[in-house]
């Protein structure tokens, strides 16, 4: 399997898993929510690693002559990174089926952790939508390419 195709499938998996995680009681319950939440973290790191070339190049050009779209994408990616980090940390703090007490979260602030988990998830959902929209041409190109490869 080519790296680009793998990246494309990984992206689709990320979006679908993220959608399934939006409601903790849907789709196999809380245990699935927590395990898949940790798995999506690995998917996310892999997604960043595969796009490392873009991140490196854009970081170098960010304060130089970069196209506006690339700048917006970069800022969105940064917000996504912060968002996912906050979701995972707050999720670990309020976990019910997996024990994260060894991390040493303050259990008195459950309300704040829970609010953070819900609010940031909603904001990240919006950013994921914008992120997908900005990469739509790439997504469509990949779909067309895959279809052509299937015909050949």
């Amino acid at each position: 399997m080519r790296l680009v195709t793998f990246k494309f499938i990984l992206g689709i998996l990320l979006v679908i898993t993220f959608l399934l995680l939006m409601d903790e009681n849907s789709f196999l319950g809380v245990q699935f929510h927590e395990i898949a939440g940790l798995t999506i973290c690995l998917f996310f790191i892999l997604h960043i690693a595969l796009s490392w070339k873009f991140i490196k190049e854009t970081t170098c050009r960010l304060f130089g002559k970069a196209v506006g779209k690339a700048r917006i994408q970069y800022i969105l990616n940064l917000l996504l990174l912060i968002g996912f980090t906050l979701i995972i940390i707050s999720g670990m703090a309020i976990a019910k089926t997996i024990d994260f007490s060894w991390v040493g979260f303050n259990t008195e602030n459950t309300m704040i952790w829970r609010s953070m988990h819900t609010s940031v998830s909603m904001i990240v959902l919006i950013i994921v939508g914008i992120h997908t929209g900005l990469h739509w041409q790439w997504v469509m190109a990949r779909i067309k390419r895959t279809k052509q490869e299937e015909i050949q």
Binding site: V15, L19, L20, M22, D23, N25, S26, F27, L28, G29, F63, G64, K65, A66, V67, G68, K69, R71, M111, I112, S115, M116, T118, S119, V120, M122, I123, L125, I126, V128, G129, I130, T132, G133, L134, W136
Partner: protein, 147 residues
């Protein structure tokens, strides 16, 4: 022509679905929840119906005025028993969990999918407008003034 009509119908379907989903999952409230807890204290709770701190004066059991259940800040006297309208249904009492009819339910996921697709659509729409407006001046999107 048919393709255009289908596209328009799809766009309307997504927009209507997203607006309906926004209200259904209470998206705005959930998004603002953190800011309310962190910055607003219990200010946000005071505005909620039936919420807020109790008003001044002793409770009725201690000689205070009679409190209407519909009054903001009303707290029922639980020593007399919660009454027939309180708590979970009879069959679910005693620490039992509600029976799960469906193990795999995607019903609650669909509204979020609509909201996600709506933002993809909005982004595409804005991008196409920018491309159309600025295509004569720039090769790809606008270059920011700082560039």
């Amino acid at each position: 022509m048919i393709k255009k009509i289908l596209c328009l119908a799809l766009v309307i379907f997504i927009v209507v679905g997203a607006v309906y989903s926004y209200n259904k999952v209470d998206f705005g409230q959930k998004t603002a929840m953190l800011f309310r807890v962190v910055f607003g204290g219990d200010e946000g709770m005071r505005g909620a119906p039936g919420g807020g701190p109790p008003q001044g004066g002793p409770p009725p059991a201690m000689g205070g005025p009679w409190q209407s259940p519909s009054r903001p800040g009303f707290r029922p006297n639980m020593a007399q028993g919660p009454g027939p309208g309180y708590g979970p249904p009879r069959e679910m009492r005693g620490g039992q969990q509600p029976p799960s009819k469906k193990l795999i339910s995607l019903q609650n996921i669909i509204p979020y999918a609509f909201i996600l697709v709506f933002f993809v659509l909005i982004t595409r729409f804005v991008e196409l407008i920018i491309r159309k407006e600025f295509s004569s001046k720039f090769s790809d999107w606008i270059i920011f003034p700082m560039a």
